[in-house]
Symmetry: C2
Subunit: 384 residues, 2 copies
């Protein structure tokens, strides 16, 4: 898979096939780059994620897939920034999103750099697409909107501008090396999208905790009542965590988390719920250590606010691991923060892609009613 | 070690002992926080690294050590920023550094967030210091200047403002949980400081490559002719790398790297030298794969320029590891970059602290004349 983008570098401007399979520019059959390099307009030579502007025209290259978009799910950090920059005015937030997509050819927040994901229906499949999709499939994209060519055609008239779930009409393009998952039949598209949006977190948490399984590790989840946090807590338990500590910012989230049962109905989703400000290093690490009787072996950061690096590091045992999933993480603060307190901790950049991540998250949401309840409540709250 | 900061939280304003051991405020003997929380002036409650301003007064708390400073070594990203912001004017750069230290009580570049390190002589040791130092020891601090209380008293008159090595008179404070290393007798302080400044990189590279030893891994070092890069290349070889690829930006560095021999004098420090722009993802990954005959199992990023995340990810095999040591790394670009190309790679935030890091780096510099030569040349170039 790593070979193909290189072999195709000579063909940096391959030809799209037409919307109905006809060639647009007479070079029908020239392969696109599986990485989507042929869609990058500026600056030249960068990957689509780093590009300022993409070519989002609907005609597809032979290994591409065009999706009729039904819904966008903006990532939490991006929506928060848009909300704050526009003083919460729905009309201004809507205008901002439309303007970003119009000028950039993708929904990548220029301040946070982040995107989100989308659901839709497969419209046309290039003859060389390796994704295994069929026309008419209802899917969610598992690559970020920050690199997905996108055109919005309905001016977002159905979106109230009040939540990150954006009903939307338009089209999007998947590359050869993109990832998409069929939406399951046993839940709403809204719930499935909401789960798949964060499915990298439980998958990586599961992998890291599994690797320490014999040690009966203590796992701390900072932001455990959130989407990625609740799924990661369930994944940690399934991977063999002996103790799971859930950190939340206030009483309301603590009540929700305490009420959430684990899949077996016997115990809670987490063993200990602690209330602490994740930005207060001594406060949060002290609270975790009091609850668990010692530092965490694995600490998972799932809260999208800046300044949580120090607390996560201090809460973690020497030889332990911190997984940063928050897009508000500062690389420098993490690197220097650990050095500054002589903390021998492994710090992972939360990669949104782990093989099998969508399947694991879907399985967790089906078997963990506590987690499903928290997701459902979040969706219902937005509709009220 | 993780227990002590918490137990002492109640004593947030312990008393310093006087410069000559006398109490300054009548609370002699009250312990300081080993994390240095008692030195944080604003904002309250954060760790010294995150603080805007520290109390850098010379009187020490019982577990602190005061150092008479001889030399600062600004980190590369910080010096580059200062150089660019001041159009390279030495006087303006000097004024900037003095102003930062005067207002913040530490040398932390407000733009990059980074610091550097220092050398000096142990002046006074608190009775409860756990660091094992003796008065008169010549040492280097291995915690960042970004959290070290510092006062400069000579207006930096001996610094030409042209390199990150800053001759300096003043004092600095080490906390209970700081790290310092005695300077060796068999090399200049300048060389030792220059090595210790980056000693986390070879130590973590060694650990990661050792863990894959049986697989005869391919290791790519991006920025292999630099300080952390050349040490990491030597560490990778020692840890069992089968093939080491060194990436450099231009011919001049390529010549230097090609001329560097490995410790045994038999082969080169690296097996393949490739010239590529680390910010060009397809270019750099293609060059590495051509040289090594396939992707790298471990890729180490040691160049302090933004935009190197995509190339490092693309150059790395599925299941491989990328270690980011550059302070110019963007967390978001790394996280979304990997997801965007469906790269199942483990991404590590380069932690500057790994137990035994100074010893390993010193051993490498003594036994690898090729690496030592590159360090020596860098120091000589700065003196010309």
């Amino acid at each position: 898979m790593t070979e193909s983008p290189l072999g195709q570098r000579a063909g940096r401007e391959p030809a799209p096939t037409g919307v109905s399979g006809a060639s647009l520019n007479g070079q029908a059959g020239a392969p696109g780059s599986p990485l989507g390099l042929h869609r990058v307009l500026e600056p030249a030579g960068v990957l689509p994620q780093a590009a300022w502007r993409l070519d989002a025209r609907p005609a597809i290259w032979p290994d591409e897939v065009r999706i009729t978009v039904e819904r966008l799910n903006l990532d939490a950090a991006s929506f928060r920034q848009l909300h704050e920059a526009n003083d919460g005015h729905p009309d201004r937030i809507r205008t901002s999103v439309l303007e970003i997509v119009r000028t950039r050819g993708k929904m990548q927040n220029p301040v946070t750099g982040s995107g989100g994901m989308l659901t839709g229906v497969v419209d046309e499949i290039g003859p060389d697409s390796p994704l295994g999709l069929c026309a008419g499939d209802k899917i969610a994209t598992l690559v970020s909107l920050s690199l997905t060519p996108l055109v919005i055609t309905d001016a977002l008239v159905r979106w109230d501008g009040r939540s990150e779930q954006v009903p939307c009409t338009g089209h999007a393009i998947l590359f050869g090396r993109s990832i998409a998952a069929r939406l399951p039949d046993d839940m709403t598209a809204e719930l499935a999208l909401s789960v798949m949006d964060v499915c990298g977190a439980p998958a990586l948490t599961h992998r890291v905790v599994s690797a320490r399984q014999g040690e009966r590790p203590t796992v701390a989840i900072i932001g455990a009542a959130g989407k990625s946090g609740s799924l990661s807590a369930a994944a940690a338990r399934r991977a063999g965590a002996a103790t799971v500590v859930g950190v939340v910012p206030h009483d309301a989230e603590a009540s929700i988390l305490r009420a959430a049962k684990a899949g077996d109905g016997e115990c809670g989703l987490v063993d200990h719920v602690v209330i602490a400000d994740a930005r207060d290093p001594v406060g949060v690490s002290s609270a975790i250590q009091r609850a668990a009787g010692g530092p965490a072996d694995v600490t998972v950061v799932c809260v999208d606010v800046p300044g949580c690096e120090g607390g996560a590091i201090l809460a973690t045992a020497q030889g332990g691991t911190v997984i940063f999933f928050s897009m508000a993480t500062s690389f420098t603060a993490a690197a220097l923060g650990a050095e500054g307190v002589a903390a021998d901790v492994t710090m992972l950049v939360g990669n949104g892609y782990v093989p099998g991540h969508a399947e694991l998250a879907m399985d967790l949401i089906r078997t963990e009613p506590g987690v499903r309840g928290m997701f459902q409540r979040r969706i219902t709250d937005h509709q009220e």
